[in-house]
Amino acid sequence: MADLRCNFVGIHSPNPFWLASAPPTDKAYNVNRAFEAGWGGVVWKTLGEDPPIVNVSGPRYGALLGTARNLVGFNNIELITDRMLDDNLREIRQVKRDWPDRALAVSLMVPCEEQAWKRILPMVEDTGADGIELNFGCPHGMSERGMGSAVGQVPEYVEMVTRWCKEHTHLPVIVKLTPNVTNILQPARAALRGGADAVSLVNTISSIMGVDLDLMSPSPSVDGKGAHGGYCGPAIKPIALRMVGEIARDRESAGMSISGIGGISTWRDAAEFMALGAHNVQVCTAAMVYGFKVVEDMIDGLNNWMDEKGHRTLSAFVGKAVPNFVDWEHLNLNYTVKAHIDQDLCIKCGRCYIACEDTSHQSIRNEKDGQRHFEVIDEECVGCNLCVNVCPVENCITLKELAIGSIDPRTGRAVQGYGSWSTHPNNPTPQAEKGKPVAGLLK
């Protein structure tokens, strides 16, 4: 059994799976159920100043569904907690007392004035909560009032508010970042400058889920009108992974604690985020779709995978993929692969053929001896991976690497060792490689 215990900026939890600040963590009832189900921690749904905000009574959620109604993406127009501050604080205090071994951080969002933060921070600290998370991410409803992502999008505000919080509380400060920026490193570095103990990302992405073509209204439609909301769920995982990876490999912010968020639905998703630099993960959509029980497999699956790989603790694999996240110019242009179709697994659907024929390199033949038969033409194949991606049978099409020195039938030339664009003769501004490929979005 691997050790899943997690120490995130001094906050301890039995496993790295926290519930993100969201509807599932709005009140004691839900959080108690989550802890009963095995969640390692929660970030309590964002508290604000009284009087509380008001939510719509129409639809708050929208979904991007597959044909068989499998949920691919999800969005919401719900705001921060709509309950009185005292009610939340009282419940937080009780829950923390009842579950001392679980992590309980509290998400906060108050106006961008030092006094407002100075007022609320002691009240939260007094509950016995383990830490605070600054909601600089919410892209809808609150941002129009100068809070949420309106703060997160201005690095100077991020730094300023973070600094206030560090001054007015002893609790660890986690800064939750919005992905609705052109460069995630700017707010991340700002948080670091402000003294943040960690960043968590990503918050939701500004989105319109769809258009109701009968009402001619964006959906979800509230009385015939729709507002933009925050997009999350499995579909945003690639965006979130990239942003986490950018911060993890950035020379300035490298080493900062990161809580990974964004479409994490399985133990594998969590392991990927952690391999790319996250120290723990936060989950919301998967729980909202399936209930809290999903954490069982997250724990069990991660445990089994760690055992299989020989990782005894989380730190054994956290960040292990970061050095391999490089800029395109450092990719090995001499690495050569060819698609290969396993004829025993092939069901002859022809999807690889038509995808390649219509939209790629005409590298698959669809007939042999007058029979329906799909085979890669090595002389044409550039190894693009499209056929692998469209094939409905797992492992039927794989990419086979050509050994250095062997002849690539497409070019007729021998495969060379490492050589990237940085040093390529076609590059108008070639740069000498300095040792290993290095990271850095901002150079």
């Binding site: 597959g66 044909t67 068989a68 109604r69 069901i347 002859k348 659907c349 022809g350 999807r351 053929y353 038509i354 669809n366 329906r372 409905p392 049978v393």
Partner: protein
């Protein structure tokens, strides 16, 4: 309530009303909308899809399934019906396990093809429920075509001809159009008057005149039709039933086709008499249909006896399994020797076991056995009644006892096309008949337009 025979036990009203209703309900109920969506998502949208190749009417199956998935059910129905105007009944009666679904690549992956038949039914039912007409008659050509036989072949031909602007007269020997869809297919496959709804839908296009109770050779003759019309299409099916080759006593031996026809037209199944023990001789779809339906009418013991093994049966494996699920016993490798009777009434059938001899020919001479029966059904195939085609100067070339046609469904007589079960080389399937009619119509159209051009040049 029963017309029980004094000696045999052939009688009606064996079951309760609820049992009749249950036994003859839809054999394969329709997909609910959500089921259809889930099933449509299983289609891989194959390139040059094997299912299309396996469909005698070449329906673009991946396209229509994708349209169901996107909510464009009307488009899906159009994809189906433009290739096969009887797609609603075909969705129910096609042996999809040996056609489209048999070719589905999912068989190779998980032994479970996409439910193409059920999805086709979903799309066509959707259209019929909304009474949306997708087809319109083409610009009038002034040409008149006689279609003999109002079954799937004839109606398909008539519809396509009307789409092409020709005027059609359909001559049908019976009281209703529809052919075997109306008179032949097992009742639980075509519930809810779908066969008639489909005929009505097809006729809505206009330009098709119906002449019912007009039998070829009795009321109309081919030579006269050739004089009166620009072209003739024969879709007359198979009227005769092959003989058993044993002595046939008067009471207890029935023709399966005639019985099914009576059953299909019956408004009260409790009036259909069945025996206690029933023997069905044959191995095709008719054998399965009669055996399953007689069992469902309350017969106690129903046995299909077929002279060869299961692989040789005309009915697919799935159809055989369906009969067995209905409670029918299938006995392979045996053929009837004689019918046993007491006082002129059937009591049993004596069989001998068969085998293949060293040359691979069917041979009898095996052990004999007796199956008690008060009812025997012949389901050993039908033949073309040639009399209808004789009696006039025109002599049609025949092949294997059926009308010989070329790829365009032209017969040996100029101006005469034929299709459906009456032509040689078919598979006795509704879907093949529909394709025959369609191809013949396209050929007739090409022929008539070529003639028009020639006339225009010379006129």
């Amino acid at each position: 309530m029963s017309d029980r025979d004094s000696k045999s036990d052939i009688r009606s009203g064996r079951l309760t009303a609820e049992a009749y209703a249950r036994n003859f309900a839809d054999a394969h109920p329709p997909l609910a909308p959500n089921q259809a969506l889930i099933e449509s998502d299983r289609c891989y949208f194959c390139h040059d899809a094997p299912c299309i190749q396996a469909c005698p009417t070449q329906i673009d199956i991946p396209s229509f399934i994708r349209k169901i998935a996107t909510g464009n059910v009307k488009g899906a129905a159009h994809d189906i019906l433009k290739q096969n105007i009887m797609g609603a009944v075909c969705a129910r009666v096609c042996p999809t396990e040996v056609l489209c679904e048999g070719a589905c690549v999912r068989n190779d992956q998980e032994h479970k093809p996409v439910a193409i038949g059920a999805l086709q039914r979903h799309a066509t039912d959707w259209l019929f429920d909304r009474r949306i007409q997708l087809f319109e008659r083409g610009p009038e050509t002034g040409r008149r075509i006689a279609v003999v036989g109002g079954g799937p072949a004839g109606l398909s031909c008539a519809h396509r001809l009307s789409m092409l602007g020709h005027s059609v007269t359909v001559f049908e020997a019976r009281d209703k159009l529809g052919g075997l869809n109306e008179y032949g297919v097992a009742a639980y496959k075509v519930t809810g008057l779908i066969a008639q709804r489909e005929v009505e839908y097809l006729l809505e296009i206009g330009g098709i005149e119906n002449r019912l109770r007009q039998r070829l050779g009795r009321d109309i003759v081919l030579s006269r039709l050739r004089q009166d019309y620009d072209a003739v299409f024969l879709g007359i099916g198979l009227g005769g039933v092959n003989a058993l080759g044993v002595d046939e006593p008067p009471a207890g031996v029935f023709d399966a086709i005639a019985y099914i026809e009576k059953l299909r037209q019956s408004r009260d199944l409790s009036q259909m008499p069945v025996g206690h023990g029933v023997v069905v001789i044959g191995g095709g779809m008719t054998a399965i249909d009669i055996a399953s339906q007689v069992k469902r009418l309350g017969a106690e013991d129903v046995t299909i006896v077929y002279r060869r093994g299961p692989q040789s049966m005309g009915a697919s494996h799935k159809e055989q399994a369906w009969a067995q699920t209905s409670g029918v016993r299938i006995k392979h490798w045996a053929r009837p020797l004689r019918l046993l009777a007491r006082d002129g009434v059937l009591t049993a059938v004596e069989f001998e076991q068969t085998r293949l001899d060293s040359q691979g020919r069917l041979a009898g001479g095996g052990d004999k056995f007796i199956v008690a029966a008060d009812m025997v059904f012949k389901a050993i195939g039908q033949m073309l009644i040639k009399d209808a085609l004789d009696g006039n100067a025109d002599v049609l070339e025949m092949k294997s006892g059926r009308i010989a046609v070329d790829a365009e469904r032209r017969t040996s007589i100029p101006g005469v096309w034929a299709g459906g079960d009456c032509v040689a080389g078919g598979q006795d399937l509704t879907v093949v008949a529909v394709e025959d009619g369609k191809r013949a119509a396209l050929s007739i159209d090409r022929h008539l337009r070529a003639v028009s051009k020639t006339e225009a040049r010379h006129g």
